[in-house]
């Protein structure tokens, strides 16, 4: 056990699984970098340096730098998965889904079902998402609800370094296509992470804080903000349960409903655009199955329905903040029915 960053945790998970299983291969744009260049090979390991060092250890046969052809290499990864490999394809930013989505949602996601259960597609797509790095509208989106909508895909949102390592190892060992969303503002976050391999099962929420006054459900980076808010409210004697579902598909509905049955108050924090996102999904879940338990209207804390703005002033206002979450929790506590 030692302190590791989210970046190191992801990298370690990949290294563990590549050492353990020869079927695991990596492909993507610049996952190593410098392919055939006159200077340094393994030039950078991608924009976050996550895959740096893997090519020298495992070779170009297993760490494949691809052309900028997302459809071709994501589709090839799906084909290789259906042929018995366990590819981890890197879609550099999830915003690039627009140029390869068919291979994900019409192909990889549907092989098993369409083929009557006779195809297995153990594919992982790692991708960066989220706002906060002044990367503007086409490199900052939180598009996981779109993937969550697709039957056949599993969708994972690691909220910390510990979570990232265990969930990625699970994703690689899983027999279904998994889209693994790494928040670009979390890569430098550190915590204690075991050196050995471990897995975290999908569909089992993590209760990062426990309290009986209100429930906060949050995803990815928003879990960190929700924890800060819960800790701050604790000072005022307000107890919050914070639920990190870890995976949006499958979703641990029971954990959410059980907690709401106890607290009667729910705030959902979601960095995705507000229409048809995880917040609306969970609000509907609770309205349908725990309406009688609610002591206040559900609050949804999301960005506004706009593209992610560039200007730092605007982007900061766009991202759900701990202050907005805290105000929402105080609001549901004050509400009268």
């Amino acid at each position: 056990m030692s302190r590791k960053t989210y970046r190191q945790a992801v990298s370690e998970a990949l290294r563990h699984e590549m050492r353990r299983d020869l079927r695991v291969v990596i492909m993507g744009e610049d996952v190593s970098g410098g392919l055939g260049a006159p200077g340094e090979q393994d030039a950078w390991g991608g924009p976050q340096g996550v895959t740096k060092g893997l090519m020298p250890e495992f070779g170009r046969g297993r760490v494949l730098d691809t052309p900028i052809s997302e459809s071709a290499f994501i589709g090839a990864a799906a084909g290789a998965a259906a042929t018995g490999l366990r590819p981890v394809a890197e879609l550099m930013f999830v915003d690039f889904m627009g140029v390869c989505f068919d291979q994900i949602f019409n192909q990889a996601a549907k092989f098993r079902y369409m083929f009557g259960g006779r195809a297995v597609t153990p594919l992982v797509i790692r991708t960066q998402y989220g706002a906060g790095l002044r990367a503007a509208s086409q490199h900052s989106q939180s598009l996981y609800p779109i993937f969550t909508h697709i039957p056949g895909l599993k969708v994972v949102l690691p909220s910390s370094a510990y979570e990232a390592k265990g969930l990625l190892i699970q994703a690689i060992r899983d027999d279904d296509p998994v889209v693994f969303f790494e928040h670009k503002a979390l890569y430098d976050d550190e915590e204690e992470v075991p050196d050995e391999a471990y897995t975290i099962p999908f569909g089992e929420a993590n209760l990062t804080r426990e309290g009986s006054d209100a429930t906060i459900v949050a995803f990815g980076r928003m879990v960190k903000f929700a924890n800060q808010v819960a800790d701050s409210l604790e000072q005022d004697g307000i107890g919050c349960t914070v639920i990190d579902p870890r995976t949006t598909s499958p979703l641990d509905s029971d954990a959410i409903l059980d907690s709401v049955a106890e607290t009667g108050r729910l705030v959902v924090v979601d960095e995705a655009s507000p229409r048809c996102n995880m917040a609306t999904d969970i609000a509907a879940l609770v309205a349908e199955h725990a309406f009688g338990a609610l002591k206040a209207p559900v609050r949804m804390i999301t960005p506004p329905h706009t593209p992610v703005p560039f200007a730092p002033e605007l982007e900061d206002a766009y991202i759900p903040s701990p202050a907005r979450i805290e105000e929402a929790v105080r609001g549901v506590l004050a509400a009268k029915r």
Partner: protein
Amino acid sequence: MTITVPKPLAEEMYRRMQLIRRFEEWVVKLVESNEIAGVTHESVGQEAVAVGVCLALRDDDVITSTHRGHGHIIAKGGNVAHMLAELLGREGGYNKGRGGSMHIADMALGIFGANGIVTAGCPMACGTAYAFKRRGQDRVAASFFGDGGVNHGLFHEALNLAAIWALPVVFVCENNGYAITTPIASVTKVELYTRAAAYGMPGEAVDGMDVQAVYEATRRAVERARAGAGPSLIECRTYRFVGHYTAERFMKLDYRSDEEIVAWRKRDAIPAWSKRLGEAGLWRADDQRRCDAAVERELDQAVAIARQSPWPSADTALDHVYARTYPGLPAQGFE
């Protein structure tokens, strides 16, 4: 024109082409009797391409197919009873009734699916070929697509990827002249096979109505692929004698002239191949009749088996979405 392939192979070429032709004619009948629901795309006229390509492959090679896939699947050895059961939406179908005409697959026979999305099989074939190469196997992936596919981005991305990674892929363009009703010449300025040059791979056009010509071209591409020399593109010039899909026959569409259809029908690959078998002294007068009768029997039996196959039960409707079936709220709708 001489026959250069051995007699058993020459006979098998005829048998599979005839099986495809009669299968497709059965499909039309079953659509008209409302036993097959939805949309089917018949490959009548294009049999020589499917058979010429697939008989040049080994059993452990892989194909990816298209929306017009019945012929490819039969040519690769697919079981016609399982195919028909799938078309009828039965539990005994290849896909347990979950797929239908456009998604028939048999992974064990190397049939990685018909596909409803144009050229979607091209990158998949690249990945399969990469997996073969990675494991040190000399297996090959052949990817079928139509003339309409050559203007799709996936085609270009996949050809480039296969070329730079020297993957054992044979890209097979079935040029039947029309993307639904749009003539290929109206939307493409070059001969289709010349696109190969842009990716540094060999490309050639062959007569898609000559099963032996398709077979020989494929064999050259397959040998090259097995030897580690990388992918090839083959353009097979063919024609569908029928509409884009079954319903077209009732739509009175007039985008093709009668003269054009008649001219292509005169070049029908199946009687032409039978004639050559006779001229080469490989077949006597009765041999074709015997082969045809066996095909009829096989299809009669297949239709009977398919019709007897049970309907899928609604309580299995959630199965096969994931490796294990998740209980819980999303299951609603089937309750």
